[in-house]
């Protein structure tokens, strides 16, 4: 597993199904992830079964986020990983309410960034965040992500269009952060 | 087919195969597209067979661009079409270089946008264009696309990092531009 300060990143297991199914049924969590349709437990289980049996790799790394005490609190994955362009898009969810807004998500992000730049040798890590998700925006900014632009009206929920903000961090920026000791690692 | 002023948009056919293969193996053409690797005729044929096997639809509106004289000069399509958000990404390739910078690409774009807003009932059309593709950016701006931001160093080409420019046009802007 990949060790952080508050959390570790580990491979997903079948035993994650119960929690994943519960998070997939939580309307508000799903809204923040950009999903609008609830998923059956059967579908959650089927999709988990298909990817836990494949080893993690460059193309589609999906992690479970676990506290140092072994409590499974969320998930993290990289998408659209391009070897030639050395970039990836990230999606993160802290599904367990008691662990939200307490630094666990940020620690998972920082741990991932060390892995992405230090082990996967990528040059760029980016993400999409909805304009209405103020909490996530603040957390990403604190980790060093920079806002690159707003895709206007690129999401629809709660009866209206919302902007999708593109944020990113480049290798050089992360390295400068490390050098300045802004991140305790 | 969908009629423009200089071009028409029609469904792709297997008889487009040789031209498509020639264009996507021409590095002058593909330097601006997300295609990096050469494509064999066999691979292109397999891809085309899959494309023409299904009728054009909301999920896959892929068009061949033909001049009014019936010359096939390129292709244009919408993809990642999302019904609830009413949003799609646009791609265009004018493969026949002698038709560059003569208004054919712009007309194909305007025709497709008219279809996207007027028939598919979309709210937003976006595209990503390479920072070094100044000609395309100018053409997109003329059609009403607005730059929203740049994905920095999102691309590695010709030995260097490049930005991907994010541009979009919204329904209300298209309508008022006439």
């Amino acid at each position: 597993m990949i060790k952080g300060t508050l959390v570790n990143l580990r491979a997903r297991e079948l035993t994650d199904i119960e929690q994943s199914a519960r998070w997939a049924g939580d309307e508000e969590l799903q809204r923040l992830m950009g999903d609008r349709y609830p998923q059956s437990r059967a579908a959650t289980e089927a999709s988990m079964r298909s990817y836990v049996s494949r080893p993690l790799s460059f193309d589609d790394p999906r992690f479970g986020i676990e506290t140092r005490d072994g409590v499974h609190i969320g998930g993290l994955r990289l998408m659209d990983v391009s070897a030639e362009d050395r970039r990836a898009r990230l999606a993160i969810i802290i599904g367990e309410a008691p662990y939200q807004s307490r630094g666990y998500g940020s620690d998972a992000l920082r741990t991932l960034m060390s892995f992405v730049f230090g082990d996967m040798n990528l040059n760029r890590l980016d993400l999409d965040v909805f304009g209405f998700n103020a909490r996530a925006l603040a957390a990403y900014r604190k980790c060093g992500f920079v806002e690159e632009g707003r895709r206007r009206g690129a999401q629809y929920t709660r009866g209206a269009h919302h902007d999708v903000i593109i944020m990113s961090i480049l290798r050089d920026e992360w390295a400068a952060q490390q050098a300045a000791g802004e991140v305790t690692r | 087919m969908i009629r423009g002023k200089l071009v028409d948009l029609r469904a792709p056919e297997m008889s487009d195969l040789d031209r498509n293969t020639r264009w996507i193996n021409d590095r002058e053409v593909t330097q601006f597209l997300s295609l990096r690797y050469q494509m064999s005729l066999a691979a292109e044929e397999a891809w085309m067979r899959d494309l023409v096997s299904k009728p054009l639809s909301y999920d896959r509106p892929f068009f061949a661009i033909e001049t009014r004289d019936g010359v096939h000069i390129g292709n244009t399509n919408l993809f990642n079409v999302r019904p609830a958000v009413r949003h799609a990404e646009l791609g265009i390739m004018v493969g026949e270089k002698e038709y560059w910078s003569r208004g054919y690409g712009s007309d194909a774009l305007k025709t497709l946008l008219g279809f996207a807003f007027g028939e598919m009932n979309l709210n937003r059309v976006e595209l990503f264009v390479y920072d070094f593709n100044a000609r395309a950016q100018a053409a997109y701006r003329k059609c009403g696309f607005v730059e929203e931001g740049r994905r920095r160093q999102a691309l590695y080409r010709r030995g260097a990092w490049h930005d991907l420019v994010v541009m979009s046009v919204l329904r209300e802007e298209w309508a008022s531009a006439g």
Binding site: Y37, Y156, T157, G159 | Y58, A84, E119
Partner: protein, 185 residues
Amino acid sequence: MIEGTLVNLRAVEMSDLERYAVWFNDPEVTRFLNKRYPFSLAAEEAWLRENTGKPLSYDHVTFAIDTKDGVHIGSIAFHKAVPEDRRAELGITIGDKAYWSRGYGTDAMRTLLRFGFDEMNLYRIELTVDARNERAQACYRKCGFVEEVRLRQHRYAEGAYHDTLWMGILRDEWAALQEADEVRR
């Protein structure tokens, strides 16, 4: 899941099979539905397998209706959603007769209407109802549906021809109803 006031809407699961098999073989329940013939358990199971096999999406919106206590009482769905026309057809069945005429059907409808307009970005929602089904028509009218067409002698059942009504509700009409409800509260 999607939360209403009296009910929640969730994805259908294989474990719903027994109840569906009972409901769709109950002539009182199916009297005004489009189901003429008795259903075998095997056929019901095949339908359920097909339905739970695909994830919910714009083209596939079928929900189970649960009370807030988790009792499964029926199902509700959008059929034939057309993205260009932003239109879908709605169908609802309250299979557990103990929950008829107690506001559960109305709440399920309102919850799905809100999902259809506020999350799927539909413009028009429509349905058909047997002209003899007064109870259902009252529920639909309460939700804002307006009678648009009467198809004369559209359906043959119980030895005679019966009319079918088309009812529809538009986005603006729904929004106006919501505003009126806000003012009342």
